[in-house]
Symmetry: C2
Subunit: 428 residues, 2 copies
Amino acid sequence: MTALRLGIAGLGTVGAGVLRTLEQNSAMITARCGRAIQVVAVSARDKNKARNFDIKNLQWVDDPLALAGMPNVDVVVELMGGDSPARQLVETGLRNGKAVITANKALIAGHGMMLTQLAEAKQVVFAFEAAVVGGIPVIKTIREALAANKISEIQGILNGTCNYILTQMRLRQMSFQAALQEAQTRGYAEADPLFDINGTDAAHKLAILAALAFGTQLDLNAVSAEGISGITPDDIIFAEELGFRIKLLSVARHHEYGLEQRVSPCLIPLLSPLASVENEYNAIQIQGDAIGHLMLVGRGAGAEATASAVLADIMDIAAGRHALPFNVAVSALQKCLPPAAEKSRSSFYLRLVVSDQPGVVADIATILRDHKISIESLLQRGRAMAAGVPVVITTHETMASAMQQAAAKIVKLPVVLEPPCVLRIENN
Amino acid sequence: MTALRLGIAGLGTVGAGVLRTLEQNSAMITARCGRAIQVVAVSARDKNKARNFDIKNLQWVDDPLALAGMPNVDVVVELMGGDSPARQLVETGLRNGKAVITANKALIAGHGMMLTQLAEAKQVVFAFEAAVVGGIPVIKTIREALAANKISEIQGILNGTCNYILTQMRLRQMSFQAALQEAQTRGYAEADPLFDINGTDAAHKLAILAALAFGTQLDLNAVSAEGISGITPDDIIFAEELGFRIKLLSVARHHEYGLEQRVSPCLIPLLSPLASVENEYNAIQIQGDAIGHLMLVGRGAGAEATASAVLADIMDIAAGRHALPFNVAVSALQKCLPPAAEKSRSSFYLRLVVSDQPGVVADIATILRDHKISIESLLQRGRAMAAGVPVVITTHETMASAMQQAAAKIVKLPVVLEPPCVLRIENN
């Protein structure tokens, strides 16, 4: 059988990983596909950049869009990231009837429906396993291995930067800022880490997984996202005392009244499987009606791990295995109904810093009672902190809206010295 | 597109799960496959057995082998288990050019090479995801998602019965026998649990995974298997004190000098991800050169979880996705070289029961020294046990053969009252 010929745009971390792995494992890859996989052309920003692999035998094109038009390219592999020209390349590739592979989560989260419809119209493969948690094969697992399952819930640790920061804050009693710097030094965080730490990156991944798992239209606007910059080392210590660990949790949950899609720092039980997923590791726990719980844990980023996912998509093409990107045609996806905000329920963790004087707890408890919020536990710490003393409250399950309103009132109490930290407790 | 038509042999736990899930999720399954999946005929031991699902609209055949000859059956689904007539059914189905799906691990472990070659010759699909750890999609993951990876190691908790027993022994300080009875009461252990508790069941699964992952001929004789019946509640307590948990671990590891395939109770670090996989749950940790570590955790048995895997195989056929069962043709699999026994190294846990008199430790330490085994820690417990006192020793990494010889000498010391318990410590 003839070789499958690739045109690769982008030779950064992931592109380099793909070229290295293809070269290192070429005999094995050929044997497993029944045909060779051959890179015929590459494009990147700077031809002359020092690279630790050889590109002199590959055709170089300055304009990545040219790859989409080359007759000897079967598969366009978009590894540039960003919006433009990545989007144009993917679109032109599909329009020209080429298979397209991408690792670009923002592109799929923003334009996945349109691009997938284009691929369907052209009857070409469009695949993006690497766009969601790098090496962990969650897309293939949901799409194929769990195809017979009605999925009711996905919970995941989908951002390695945040997980690394929260782990280091806990293990070394570091501040958020210090842990972030450490993550940057180690290459786990970008120079501009905003989209990682504010939950945007995880929201992109969650939106893609939710559309696939629940058969709903991908709708990034239906995902609420909250980051981890408000978490203090004290919160982490209090959570542990209460039997919980704080994780940036991505949750997509099917309710009768809509689809909940949420990225937020949460308290999860210390003994839950996700609690032991630490540092830069990612994990996804899927609940299906037949399979029960299935959890996948692995590296969500990094050159070789992400290359593993890109190459799996490519090898599926080489072996003739095709699947619709969202399991059914885009036209068959249901409208994504965001859940009615007034129906969202949870138990909560509430940490306040208050001035140390009599009656504070009574004031707070009164506000909670007025909002029909029932206290499960209350911890008041000694007088160690100069500026005030922390009070930590956990609640029984309550309306999220009631909790929001109560927090807004509590912050106005003169004895409350800082905005409260309000976190969901995910018990299941 | 026309429906994919199934003939199902075996309506026990798994068969019932397949029929129920197919019925419950039929609209979704049809949408995802682009065609209906239809059961046209079934066979089981007793037509009139009370069942909680309806078979009156299905054609009943008394002889399961007849399914392999029916012109309106596209896929033969073997869910009877056991050797005969399961083997004849699978073989006849393949010979007649039908796709065959089975959940029969003993059949694949024993005859997988022959049956796969037959499927290759007939160019039909032969798949058995459900044969290895039920619902967890480890075969698809290794075969497709990790296809670009050279795999160096698989470690797994592949038997839910043993994992349940060890968990309950720890949590409730039960004896092995009491925990086994509990497992039988709860349906986690067969009436005859021998193949579960002596490691045979896990060895079957490991042999299948190793062949797929390492591209070697499936060779059940190359797998060493040891069960858990020698583990006492004391061993579990000592292990925890030393920072370890005891698990029945299945390990397949690539060495320069051969392929290590071993099922045995091992001490693994309390903080290792596998240590937190408890009760009836199964897990597999795979190490690939590109992906690094990937772990899958889920239910390895049960009606619906196993049905999920059977149906995934069927839906792959319906959607036209094909893969070679062992990723390359059987003729391309390498001969499986068992590792030279004299090269196997490990650190060890050694628990003795000795009579409480001076000089005991010196006698034991001398034997270990004579075999060049270096002691890492030694715990000697008080005088609680009437019959003797336990001595627990952990060693630094040493030759497994040296440990065996030393243990054989130690057991002959007059002060040693019981055969020693010798367990590997898996630190990585």
